[in-house]
């Protein structure tokens, strides 16, 4: 058995934030998958619009604009606690992460509550026309992705209050969760424009 040269990696850290972490890459790929779902659905929206002389179809009122606009403002406000948590997580400041996550979760719960009112004011049923079908489905996809992420955030928030909250891995998770929330907010803006402004402008 002869001597063999080595690269010693024992001094390397046991975690990395942002693009260094495997969780960041997985999150980016999930975002790409969901973004493709949204793009395919929005494309279908305009494809179906091309078949109709009027959009929404005759005798269908426009979707209510008030609640989605309130919701858009709520989402934009949520960026503040979100960035606060991300910065605190990357400095591993447990107390700030805990407080920030509770605030962010409460805002997101408020968003879901207003979402119920949004559905109630779409002014069309999913089974009354293709316009109704695509409107409900696009809003439905977004709600599904929102509710699952909210649940995920709540679980992570609880986790931060247990003894597992002190592990570096958890801070990486918290930071990636905030990164994903940026996608939730940014993807909502085009969907908001399509669902509520396209029928008014186009």
């Amino acid at each position: 058995m002869s001597e063999r040269a080595t690269i010693d990696v024992s001094a390397l850290p046991d975690h990395g934030f942002g693009s260094r972490s495997v969780m960041w890459w997985a999150t980016v790929l999930v975002i790409l998958i969901e973004a493709t779902v949204f793009v395919a659905t929005i494309t279908s929206y305009f494809y179906l619009q091309g078949n109709e002389a009027a959009w929404p179809p005759p005798d269908t009122p426009l979707p209510g604009l008030e609640w989605p606009t309130v919701n858009t403002i709520i989402l934009l406000v949520s960026l503040l606690p979100n960035q606060f948590v991300k910065a605190a997580a990357e400095k591993m400041e447990l107390r700030k992460v805990q407080i920030g996550m509770i605030v962010a979760d409460l805002i997101a719960i408020g968003f879901v509550a207003v979402r119920v009112l949004e559905f109630a004011h779409l002014n069309v049923r999913w089974d009354s026309s293709a316009y109704g079908s695509i409107t409900w489905t696009l809003l439905g996809f977004h709600t599904f992705h929102l509710v699952t992420d909210l649940f995920d955030s709540i679980v992570l928030t609880v986790l931060m209050f247990t003894r597992h909250g002190r592990e570096p891995k958890r801070f990486v998770d918290a930071s990636e969760n905030c990164f994903y929330w940026y996608f939730v907010v940014l993807s909502w803006l085009p969907i908001y424009a399509v669902l509520y402004w396209a029928p008014r402008i186009l």
């Binding site: 058995m1 690269i7 495997v22 997985a26 790929l29 395919a40 279908s44 079908s133 679980v155 986790l159």
Partner: protein, 644 residues
């Protein structure tokens, strides 16, 4: 096992490290071990076997169709049975076999080939496996209950809509898509992350083996193609379940929307099946010609170009739908353009063979068979890419011939070669060479006998998807020839898989590197130990086992007491940090059972999705909740490797 195997220059303390690593990476044991495994070798092997079982069932259905068509006015299958059989044959081969087997091979091989100890997100990998298993079980249960999908593998509305397909048959199709795409997308994410972040130090992106490049490109195609078909299948499911009107022209819907969404997935799908095979071909050509593949950079650029152009072809499957001519011209041009990167690769392989010393052992024979058959499939592809000819040949047996030449020639032949090539790594034993030769010639002859006559049948007007035909059509003799060919093909497959089954137990012992391979999977024992590499390798070139000095440096300092992997940087593969992956657990199985129950219940009521999602969130919480500090990443005490 011998600790030193594959590591000729072991470091002092190797025996202790071997013992600790064996304990740490030990697979699940005990009564419920089957439900708890997460290791990529175990799940990968299972994935491969399961996909081949679906392949065998899909092949049996093909045999039934050939029997039915052997002579005019035959009565082996009824009209209705024939519709179910050709539909289930198609969805089996495309959704349950082709994509899963390509991903399954990668799940097994890629981590070994890039020199790491685990596939990224091992639990998600187990989940993806169960989803494939349950999806296939659902379809074949439906087939035995006489309620299998019957509207073709591409399930066009309005035929597949509520007005023309009552019952639950088409809904089974829609749910199967959800099963298989969830599985495929999950594995694609794991493969991309593994390739980007876990390569051995020194394996910079321009030194990655071509097979790794092929799987990287394929996985990205899956990420962008599969969501379109999931959207489409949810639209049709909603139309059928809750009365939406996506495809109902009377209420502003549009059946062509389906075709766009479906083929935006469906055409890239062909390349998702084909590109991994190109990577396999490069691995095999290089090893059996004893030289690196000619034109590495051109090969990589061709793979990437194929992927991009592959997304610009989908309308050529819709030439017969009356789209604007300018649009059709664009897609004709794109369809012809994809021949360029394919041609570049064919010429690079020919150059490699020319410059090397080819040895015609079975894996290489299958590759040569691939080149011959794929070129014919490519030529008929250029023919149907032209609109006027396509309008003549659309929905005839010419297209059946073309697609089987491309898919079986382009994908199955390299796959059979690759299974022969990597079999020793998977089982520790060699497949029999003589039986390998016999199976190759039977498959090659049987394939051409089955499918070549179909070109002619299509040209003389025989349409696809008919369950019988009249004697006066004159299609009888060629159909009989084709059925006889199918018999030879089936015999060849039997010899191939019989060889595999017997060799698994009785084959000659392989040792670490039976072929004189170039890449890292041959640097460890066959089959590899649970920890894969005793010391993680360091790479200095594209063919590390051919170029590296015998006493190449290795990595030390990765924990032997936790399931720790070395994370390296995306482009230059410099060590970055260490990361611990979790051990065996039953949660992925439970989550897959919940997802599966939700999808099956969703056949009957939309409320299944609300209740199912809630249940799934609970299971996912159990999955993600960390195990106690003491156990995290560590094996429970003394689960011996014998339990594997």
């Amino acid at each position: 096992m011998n600790v030193m195997e594959g590591t000729p220059y072991a470091l002092p303390g190797a025996t202790r490290e071997h013992e600790e690593l064996t304990r740490t990476w030990a697979p699940a044991s005990g009564l419920l071990r089957w439900f708890r495994q997460v290791d990529h070798l175990i799940i990968g092997r299972r994935f491969i076997i399961t996909a081949f079982i679906w392949f065998a069932l899909g092949g049996l259905l093909a045999g039934l169709m050939r029997l039915q068509l052997a002579v005019p006015e035959n009565t082996v299958l009824s009209n209705d049975q024939y519709n179910q059989v050709f539909t289930v044959h198609g969805i089996t081969m495309m959704f349950l076999f082709a994509v899963p087997i390509m991903e399954a091979m990668a799940v097994f091989i890629i981590p070994l080939m890039i020199g790491t100890r685990a596939l990224a997100f091992p639990r998600a990998n187990a989940y993806a496996y169960y989803m494939l298993l349950f999806g296939g079980m659902m379809v074949y249960t439906a087939l035995f209950l006489n309620m299998a999908p019957d509207a073709g593998w591409f399930n066009y509305p309005p035929l597949s809509g509520p007005a023309f397909s009552a019952g639950k048959r088409v809904d089974i199709w829609a749910e199967l898509v959800n099963f298989t795409e969830i599985s495929a997308l999950t594995v694609a994410v794991e493969i991309i992350v593994t390739i980007f972040r876990q390569r051995a130090p020194g394996m910079s992106i321009n030194r990655m083996p071509l097979y790794v490049w092929a799987m990287l490109v394929t996985s990205f195609m899956i990420v962008f193609a599969m969501p379109a078909v999931m959207v489409a299948s949810n639209f049709i499911g909603l139309d059928r379940l809750v009365g939406t009107h996506f495809f109902n022209a009377a209420e502003g819907g549009d059946a062509l929307l389906w075709q766009h969404l479906f083929w935006f997935f469906g055409h890239p799908e062909v390349y998702i099946i084909f590109i991994p095979a190109l990577g396999m071909v490069s691995s095999i050509v290089s090893v059996f010609c004893r030289r690196p593949v000619f034109g590495y950079t051109a090969m990589v650029l061709s793979l990437v170009a194929t992927a991009f152009i592959g997304f610009g072809l989908w309308v050529h499957d819709m030439f017969a739908t009356g789209l604007p001519q300018s649009g059709e011209s664009f897609f004709t041009a794109a369809s012809m353009m994809i021949a360029i990167p394919s041609g570049v690769q064919i010429f690079c392989w020919i150059a490699t063979i020319w410059l090397g010393k080819p040895s015609f052992r079975p894996p290489f024979l299958f590759v040569v068979g691939f080149i011959a058959i794929f070129v014919i499939g490519g030529l008929s592809g250029v023919m149907v890419a032209s609109v006027p000819l396509d309008l003549q040949l659309h929905d005839t047996f010419f297209v059946v011939a073309h697609l089987h030449y491309v898919l079986i020639g382009g994908s199955l032949f390299p796959l059979l070669g690759a299974v022969f090539y990597w079999f020793p790594k998977m089982t520790g034993r060699m497949m029999n060479e003589r039986a390998g030769h016999v199976s190759f010639w039977l498959v090659f002859a049987g394939f051409n006998l089955t499918f070549f006559p179909m070109h002619k049948l299509g040209l003389i007007g025989m349409p696809r998807r008919i369950y019988t035909y009249l004697p006066e059509t004159g299609w009888g003799p060629l159909n009989l020839l084709s059925t006889a060919g199918a018999g030879v093909l089936a015999l060849g497959m039997l010899v191939y898989f019989g060889n595999a089954l017997v060799s698994m137990r009785r084959g000659a012992l392989a040792g670490a590197d039976p072929w004189g391979g170039a890449t890292l999977e041959w640097a460890t024992a066959s089959p590899p130990p649970a920890y894969k590499f005793l010391h993680l390798p360091v790479v200095h070139g594209r063919e590390p086992l051919w170029e590296g000095p015998e006493n190449a440096p290795v990595v030390t300092g990765v924990s032997t007491k936790k399931r720790e992997v070395l994370i390296t940087r995306t482009l230059d593969a410099e060590p970055d940090h260490l990361y611990v992956y979790p051990g065996p657990t039953v949660w992925p199985f439970l989550a897959a059972v919940t997802t599966g129950s939700m999808l099956v219940a969703g056949l009957f009521t939309p409320w299944a999705f609300a209740i199912g999602t809630a249940a799934l969130l609970v299971f996912m919480t159990g999955w993600f909740w960390p195990t106690t500090k003491k156990k995290e990443g560590e094996a429970p005490p003394n689960e011996g490797a014998a339990a594997a």
